[in-house]
């Protein structure tokens, strides 16, 4: 169609306004939820991360870089760690607890004198759990900010970027990923001094293999022998279901129907209709929270009934509030919060803010503690030194310590230490994984409440030695 209109605005004026708006908009996009630093004076971050300045390097971080040799008199003044974070995106509702745990840990570590008597700080940047964004943020943190270790990254980011991340040869200790992809990837292969066989990833949260095994065991113990499955098509949702079904089917459970759906749909009625045409005792839902609320609201409206089993991220108050009383009785198996130092963590954590504790909050605390202890034991804050010492400060043997403060003191006395974590005992396996109990939380009028626990020992028999 030929242009045929009356110009109401001068073209030059329009271009000026549009250009200015574009620059403002672009700057908003680039720095949105961007860098924020915690630490310094003891951690001031509130976990909201909505003021990201996009800076993060430069002021506030060590002038001479966090990889300075800490030997002799010239130890670093500041040691910066990098934290890729989900300040936005579909998992952002989990970040406040993790940010607060990180900030609480930083504050605690600095109050205890800091690793190598330096001040610890965390540079936090938003990845929105987007692999491409995670690639950029991780590169910035390592190459530009020179951090000697990373505290973060989700399965959805790690798995597609595995080779890329390994090439950095910087230890990544993360409280997030549950993916079974990582069961045999990561860790020092039980040879701390030999870096040649290392894979530079450690996770302080129990993997999906463990807590999905716990959930499957619990389901079978409760005579839920036949299952329907509704899951999303993303890595995290599929991984959860695969882990669950692996144990469930190997031990006599049967899957009657499995329906995969795209996330973010306006309705899941067709998928539910197909699922509930099959006969089963319970149905497993593994979707992001917002999609799960839509799907379970549809389920409630249709009156399908039967026992819902939820993936662990769904044990949220919002789900109960939005779906209503039909969801009461649904349960989710989450990594247990039963580490030996959980009470210590909770006391310090609650003084830092009021963010809700979720399954990834205590692991975030543990991640900071083991890195700080590894630096303290190594006597220097280089990636190689931290990698060599993550295993020795956490595994059995040596004086058991609950916090960095206790560990620093023990190390100063020449003792070997074994950090006892808040989420789990934090005894890293050869593949950099941790093992722990599984808490069963059941939905009721007051939200999700812990109603049962599957001990770690019960789950261990379903997870082969050396394969986790």
């Amino acid at each position: 169609m030929p242009s045929d209109t009356n110009d109401l605005v001068n073209r030059r004026t329009f271009l000026t306004v549009t250009g200015s708006s574009g620059i403002v908009g672009l700057s908003g996009c680039v720095s949105f939820g961007g860098g924020e630093e915690s630490g310094g004076d003891g951690g001031t971050g509130d976990g909201s991360g909505d003021d990201g300045s996009g800076d993060g390097s430069g002021d506030g971080s060590s002038d001479d870089g966090s990889s300075d040799d800490g030997s002799g008199d010239g130890g670093p003044d500041t040691i910066s760690l990098g934290q890729p974070a989900s300040l936005s995106g579909q998992w952002d509702f989990l970040q406040p607890g993790v940010s607060q745990a990180t900030d609480a840990a930083v504050a605690h570590i600095n109050e205890a004198g800091g690793p190598l008597d330096a001040e610890l700080e965390v540079i936090r940047r938003d990845t929105a759990v987007d692999p491409q964004e995670a690639r950029t943020v991780t590169t910035q943190l390592i190459e530009n900010d020179g951090v000697p270790a990373i505290v973060g990254l989700f399965s959805s980011e790690i798995n597609p970027l595995w080779d890329f991340l390994q090439d950095f040869e910087v230890p990544m200790v993360t409280p997030w990923p549950g993916s079974t992809f990582l069961d045999t990837r990561g860790g020092d292969k039980a040879t701390p001094e030999d870096l040649s066989d290392d894979e530079w990833l450690w996770r302080t949260v129990v993997g999906d293999t463990v807590h999905t095994s716990g959930s499957a065991v619990y389901a079978l113990e409760n005579d839920l022998d036949t299952l329907g499955v509704l899951n999303g098509t993303t890595e995290g949702e599929r991984s959860y279901v695969e882990g669950f079904l692996s144990v469930y089917e190997d031990n006599g459970g049967t899957v009657a129907e499995r329906v995969e759906v795209e996330i973010g749909g306006s309705s899941y009625q067709s998928a539910l209709s197909r699922l509930f045409d099959a006969e089963f005792d319970a149905f497993l839902v593994s979707l992001p929270l917002e999609s799960a609320i839509t799907a379970l609201s549809d389920w409630s409206d249709a009156g399908y009934g039967r026992q819902p089993i939820l993936s662990d991220p769904l044990a949220q108050q919002d789900l109960v509030d939005q779906v209503g009383s039909d969801i009461h009785g649904a349960w989710a198996g989450s990594p247990g919060q039963s580490g030996p130092s959980y009470d210590t963590f909770e006391e310090i954590y609650s003084g830092e803010g009021d963010a809700e504790i979720n399954a990834w909050t205590p692991p975030a605390w543990d991640a900071m503690q083991v890195i700080a202890l590894a630096i303290e034991r190594a006597g220097e804050a280089t990636p190689e030194a931290i990698e060599r010492n993550l295993g020795p400060v956490s595994r059995d043997g040596g004086t058991e310590v609950n916090t960095f403060a206790e560990g620093k003191e023990a190390l100063a006395n020449g003792e070997e230490i074994s950090y006892q974590g808040a989420a789990t005992p934090t005894n890293f396996t050869q593949h950099g994984n941790v093992f722990g109990s599984v808490t069963i939380s059941t939905a009721g009028e007051n939200g999700f409440e812990a109603t049962s626990e599957v001990p770690a020992e019960d789950i261990r028999e379903y997870v082969a030695e050396g394969e986790y």
Partner: protein, 304 residues
């Protein structure tokens, strides 16, 4: 569940898409641009509805009306600010501007509106019709018991009201007839004394009103977040193109074809392929365009 139940689900999904697709295709047909920022119009409408229902608060029907008004106002303001000044540059610069505007609005909403999803509180009633006999052909039950919810009825009822209103507007009012005239030939319409800028503005307002309605209906079914509209823009675009870009009647047909394709493919694809239902809908789009490039109800292929 029988085919009838699946058809009901498909019709409801199609109704969401159709309301938005009419607004999208009106802009395409009369302003001659593909507005990729249209998803954000839905989002803004959803936010207006949410704020009206929860912050003021007003009854839900009033909130829906306010969302429609808000959508219309937002649409004309954005059009005057970003699209009207470059009308003469042609469809491609306008398309690119709309992409940039959409990104800027989406991030602005995330920045100022917060990151968490919000929910509009509603009560849903379910009506069951279990006595309908089965009529089986092969392994497929054509009828069988079914249910509808009050949300289904509201969405479908809203869509029908929109269809009738749009039909009346385009065939019974001077503005509607002028819109059709402009859609056919803007120069000729102008020569005949039609105030083309006024008609463009009318189209922007109308498209915004429809976006506001679609946005708030989607928000009631799902939630209100920065991606409420963006996550549906591909379906809206596909419905408009499938039906014949520029044709409101075609957009309605296209929307229901896509809605039914989504429902039936989820119901009947092999278990391992149920996550590909959207791909099936787009495959239908490709096939239709190969057979009839102008779309189901289209009569011409436009430049953009």
């Amino acid at each position: 569940m029988g085919l009838l139940q699946e058809a009901i689900f498909g019709v409801v999904t199609g109704s969401y898409i159709a309301i938005a697709a009419i607004g999208f295709t009106l802009i395409y047909g009369i302003v001659n641009m593909i507005n990729f920022a249209y998803g954000e119009y839905l989002t803004l409408g959803a936010f207006v509805g949410f704020l009206a229902a929860s912050a003021i608060p007003v009854p839900l029907p009033v909130a829906v009306v306010l969302a429609m008004i808000g959508g219309g106002v937002i649409s004309i303001v954005l059009a005057r600010g970003f699209f009207t000044p470059i009308n003469h540059t042609g469809p491609v610069p306008m398309l690119l501007t709309s992409i940039g505007l959409g990104i800027a609005i989406r991030n602005a909403i995330r920045l100022f509106g917060g990151r968490s999803a919000r929910y509009i509180e509603t009560e849903t009633a379910t009506f069951r019709f279990d006595g309908v006999p089965d009529v089986t052909v092969g392994s497929v039950d054509l009828l069988g018991g079914f249910f509808v919810t009050s949300e289904h009825l509201i969405v479908f009822g809203s869509a029908v009201a929109v269809f009738l209103s749009i039909h009346a507007l385009l065939t019974r009012t001077d503005v509607g007839i002028a819109m059709r005239a402009m859609g056919d030939d803007e120069s000729l319409a102008r020569v005949r004394g039609i105030d083309t800028q006024l008609i463009r503005d009318s189209v922007w307002v109308l498209a915004g009103v429809l976006a506001g309605l679609a946005g708030v209906l989607m928000a009631i079914q799902t939630n209100v977040s920065s991606t409420t509209g963006f996550s549906h823009i591909l379906q809206i675009l596909s419905a408009a193109i499938l039906g014949g870009a520029g044709s409101p009647y075609g957009a309605i047909i296209g929307a229901y074809v896509i809605g039914l394709a989504l429902a039936f493919s989820t119901a009947f694809l092999p278990s391992s392929m149920t996550g590909l239902s959207s791909a099936v809908a787009f495959a239908i789009l490709i096939v239709v365009l190969l057979v009839k490039p102008s779309g189901i109800a289209g009569t011409e292929v436009r430049e953009a």
